[in-house]
C-alpha cells in the first residue's frame, strides 16, 4: 500500500530585490566615489550574466588613493584617540549587521557561493571582525609590542575572490584599529561587496581617505605593491603571487604579511566519531566549493576504516545539493570563474591520467554558469600531483596510512602548512598529533572554524604572519624604538 516516496524540496530562492547594482562603478577615494577610466565586466558565475562594469585602476588612480590615505593618516586618523577610532569600527560593524541581507545577496550573486553560507558564515563573521577589533582600538599597549606602539601608516591590501567581504574585514578591521589608513583592492571577479562596504564607510561617516578602495586586476595589485607611498602590504591569494610580492617588497621599507595557498591534511584515525568525521570531511573540502585556502583537500585515512568511511562519504556526497546559489537549500554553488573551472578540470584530468580513481556525486549540472560536481579521488599517493598541488575546487584526494607516525609524515610532506584536521576520540592522540603537525591552524574533531579572536596563518609556503587575534593585530603595529 505504501509507495516509495521522494521528498523533493521545492525551489526556495532568496530574493535579489534587496540589492541595487549600478551599471558601472568607479573607485572609492578620499571618501567619494570617483569615476574610473577603463572598465571590465563582473559576472554572476551561476548564470554568466553581466552584473555590472568595474573600473580598472591605473597608476593615476592608485596614486590618488595612496595620497588620500596618506592625508587621512597624517591629518586625522593618526591623531585620533583609540577610543574614537573604536567608535567608528563599532559603527561599521553595526551597519554591516543591519545590512547583512544585502551583503549576503550581493556576495552570492557576484561570487557564486550558496546564500546559506554568505548569510550564515561570511557576513556574520565579517561583522564579528569589526566588533572584535573595535575593542582593540584603545588597548593597543596590550598587543604584545610594549606600552608604546605606532601604526605603520598607509596599508596596501590585496584580497582574493573566495571570501570577498570576509577577507576585506580581516584586512581592514585590524588596520583601522591599529591606526593605519588603507588602500584596498578587491579581486577583479568579486568587487561588488567591497564597493558596498565603501557605502557603509560613508554611512558611518568614517573620515575621508581612511578607507580607499580601488578595483582592478593584477596590474592594479602590482601598482599598490610597488607604490613608494605605502608602508605595509597585506596580501591573501596564491603562493605564486605571494612570492612575487615578497621579492618586490624585499628591498623596501615595507612590512608584509602573506596568507597564501594550502593543501591541508584532514587525518581520520580509526577511533574517530565516524559520522561526524564524514561531516567534517564534507565541510572541509566542499565548503565554499573548495575555494578555501585552508580546505581539507587531502583526506588522510587510516586503512582499517577506509571502506567504512568512503562508503559513508559517498552516500553523504550524493546528498549534496548543487545548484542555484540563491536557493536557500543549496549546499554547493558555482565555481567562481571560467578560468578557475578550467584549472579544476585540468588538475582532475591529471589525477585520472596518473591513475587516481575518480568518483563524482551524481548530480545534474546547470547548463549555464560554471559548475563542478563534488569529486573524490581514491588510490592517491604522495607522488600524485593532485596530492601536492592546490586545486582550489570541490575535489578531494584520499590517501591512507597504517600508523599514526605515517599519517603525520604524509601530512607534513608538502611545501604548504596552512591548516590540518585531526579526527579521533582519543584526547592524547589529538594532543600528540597537533604537536607534530607543521600547520598554522589545527582543528580537532571539526574543520573550517573561524573566529576573529583566533590567529590564522601558515607555515612554509602558506605564508608569513598571522591574521586575527592579538597576533594578527600586531602585524599592523610597530613598537616604538623597533621601527
Amino acid at each position: 500500500m505504501e509507495v516509495p516516496v521522494s521528498f523533493e524540496y521545492a525551489p526556495a530562492p532568496e530574493s535579489s530585490a534587496i540589492v541595487s547594482i549600478k551599471p558601472t562603478y568607479g573607485h572609492f577615494i578620499g571618501g567619494k566615489f570617483v569615476a574610473g577610466r577603463k572598465h571590465f565586466p563582473t559576472i554572476n558565475p551561476a548564470t554568466e550574466e553581466i552584473l555590472s562594469r568595474i573600473s580598472l585602476a591605473g597608476k593615476a588612480d592608485v596614486d590618488a588613493a595612496v595620497k588620500a590615505a596618506r592625508k587621512a593618516y597624517v591629518t586625522t586618523w593618526s591623531k585620533m584617540s583609540g577610543r574614537e577610532r573604536g567608535k567608528y569600527l563599532f559603527r561599521i560593524a553595526r551597519i554591516m549587521q543591519e545590512r547583512a541581507r544585502e551583503f549576503a545577496v550581493l556576495e552570492t550573486l557576484d561570487n557564486g557561493k550558496p546564500i546559506r553560507e554568505s548569510r550564515d558564515v561570511d557576513v556574520p563573521l565579517a561583522a564579528a571582525h569589526f566588533f572584535y577589533h573595535a575593542g582593540w582600538a584603545d588597548k593597543l599597549e596590550f598587543a604584545g609590542l610594549g606600552t608604546s606602539t605606532k601604526a605603520h601608516g598607509v596599508a596596501g591590501q590585496i584580497i582574493p575572490w573566495n571570501f570577498p567581504l570576509l577577507m576585506l574585514a580581516w584586512k581592514v578591521a585590524p588596520a583601522l584599529a591599529a591606526g593605519n589608513t588603507v588602500v584596498l583592492k578587491p579581486a577583479e571577479s568579486t568587487s561588488l561587496t567591497a564597493l558596498l562596504f565603501a557605502e557603509v564607510c560613508q554611512q558611518a561617516e568614517l573620515p575621508a581617505g581612511v578607507v580607499n578602495i580601488v578595483t582592478g586586476d593584477g596590474t592594479t595589485g602590482a601598482l599598490i605593491v610597488n607604490h613608494p607611498g605605502i608602508d605595509k602590504i597585506a596580501f591573501t591569494g596564491s603562493t605564486d603571487v605571494g612570492k612575487i610580492i615578497a621579492r618586490a617588497v624585499a628591498p623596501t621599507h615595507k612590512s608584509v604579511t602573506l596568507e597564501l595557498g594550502g593543501k591541508a591534511a584532514n587525518i581520520v584515525f580509526e577511533d574517530a566519531a565516524i559520522d561526524e568525521a564524514v561531516e567534517g570531511i564534507v565541510n572541509g573540502i566542499f565548503f565554499n566549493q573548495g575555494h578555501v585556502c585552508c580546505a581539507g583537500s587531502r583526506l588522510i585515512l587510516q586503512e582499517s576504516v577506509e571502506d567504512e568511511v568512503l562508503e559513508k562519504l559517498k552516500k553523504r556526497m550524493a546528498q549534496i545539493r548543487l545548484g542555484d546559489p540563491m536557493d536557500k537549500n543549496t549546499d554547493l554553488g558555482a565555481i567562481n570563474s571560467k578560468e578557475q573551472l578550467l584549472k579544476i578540470r585540468e588538475l582532475s584530468a591529471v589525477g585520472e591520467a596518473e591513475g587516481g580513481q575518480r568518483w563524482s556525486a551524481p548530480c545534474d549540472l546547470p547548463k549555464k554558469g560554471f559548475w563542478f560536481a563534488p569529486t573524490i579521488f581514491t588510490g592517491v599517493t604522495q607522488a600524485h600531483r593532485i596530492a601536492r598541488e592546490e586545486i582550489f575546487g570541490p575535489v578531494l584526494s584520499v590517501l591512507t596510512f597504517r600508523t599514526p607516525q605515517e599519517a603525520i609524515d604524509k601530512a607534513n610532506n608538502t611545501p604548504f602548512g596552512l591548516s590540518a584536521g585531526i579526527w579521533s576520540e582519543k584526547g592524547s592522540r589529538i594532543l600528540w598529533a597537533s604537536q607534530q603537525l607543521r600547520a598554522g591552524v589545527i582543528w580537532a574533531n571539526t574543520f573550517n572554524k573561524f573566529d576573529p579572536t583566533s590567529p590564522f596563518g601558515g607555515y612554509k609556503e602558506s605564508g608569513w604572519g598571522r591574521e586575527g587575534g592579538r597576533h594578527g593585530l600586531s602585524a599592523y603595529l610597530k613598537g616604538v624604538g623597533h621601527e
Partner: protein, 315 residues
Amino acid sequence: MSFYGLVDGSDASLKKYLVSLPGVDQVGAEQRAAMLATRSIKTTSKRWAIDTAISMVDLTTLEGADTPGKVKALCTKAVRPDPTNSDVPSVGAVCVYNDMVGIARKHLDLIGGQHVGVAAVSTAFPSGRASMAVKIQDTQDALNAGASEIDMVIDRGAFLGGRYIDVFNEIVKIRELCGTRAHLKVIFETGELVTYDNVRKVSFLAMAAGADFIKTSTGKIAPAATAPVVLVMLEAVRDFYSMAQVRIGVKPAGGIRNTKDAIKQLVLVNETAGSEWLKPSLFRIGASALLNDLLMQRMKMDDGYYASPQYVTID
C-alpha cells in the same frame, strides 16, 4: 532467538557489540542537526510534508485524568482530523495507557477507523520502575485489549548502571510477548540517558533485541526529541540496515509542537536515514498539540490566510 547474528544473548557478546560502535562527537552532531534545520521547505514540498506528517502522528493522551469520553474524542479526531475536509489523512495511531486500549480499539472500529492503530504505553510507563512480572502483565493486558503497538520503556537505571544485559533481556521478553500481534516500540527516555554516545548505544542494543521502532521519550521528561538525538537515532537505523538488512522505525516524541518542528523532523529523516523511512510504517511522531498546528497550516496553504483556531477542533 538469533538477534540478527549480531549477539548471542550473552553479556559478553552484548558488551563487545556495543563497544564496537564509534562514538558520537557532540559538537559535530549538533552542528549537523542545526544545519539541517535551515532547510527551507516551501509550496508543494510543504504541502506534501504536512500531509505526510499528519499520517505519521501518534495522537497521544497520557494523563491521569484520561476518561473513556476523552479517549473516544481522541479516536474520532485521529480518524478524521479535519471533519470538514475528507482529503486530510488519518493519523498513524492513537497512543494511550493500557486501560484505555479496549475503549480506543472499539471506538475506532465503530467509526470506520480500522486502519488506525492503537499504541499502548507499557512496562510501568513512564519510569519503568517495577518488577518484570508487573511489566509482563502490563504488556499482556494491553495485548489482550487489542493493542497493535506496544510502546515499552527501558529500565534507564539498569542502562546507566552498565547492566546492559538486563535492558536487553527485558526488551527480548516483551518482544516475545508481542509476537506477531503487535509492533514493539522501545522508549529510551533520552533526556535521562543524556549523552549522544548513550543514545547510539541504546539504539543498537534495542534493535538487536528485536525492537520494530526506537522512540526517544515518554513526553514526561525534558529535553525530549531534540534534533541531534533524532539525528543519532536515524544514523543508527541507517547503519543497522547495512548490518542486518532490516529497516527499524524511529519515533521522536515530546516537544514537537508545530508544523515547523515536524517538517524539520522530516528533513532529518530524508537526509539521514533516507526517503525509504518517510512513511508511517517507519517514522512516527508522538504528539498531541502538533496535529492542530498541522491542520492550521494546511488550511492556510489552501485558503491563503490563517483561520481562527475555532475552525480546528480542540479534540
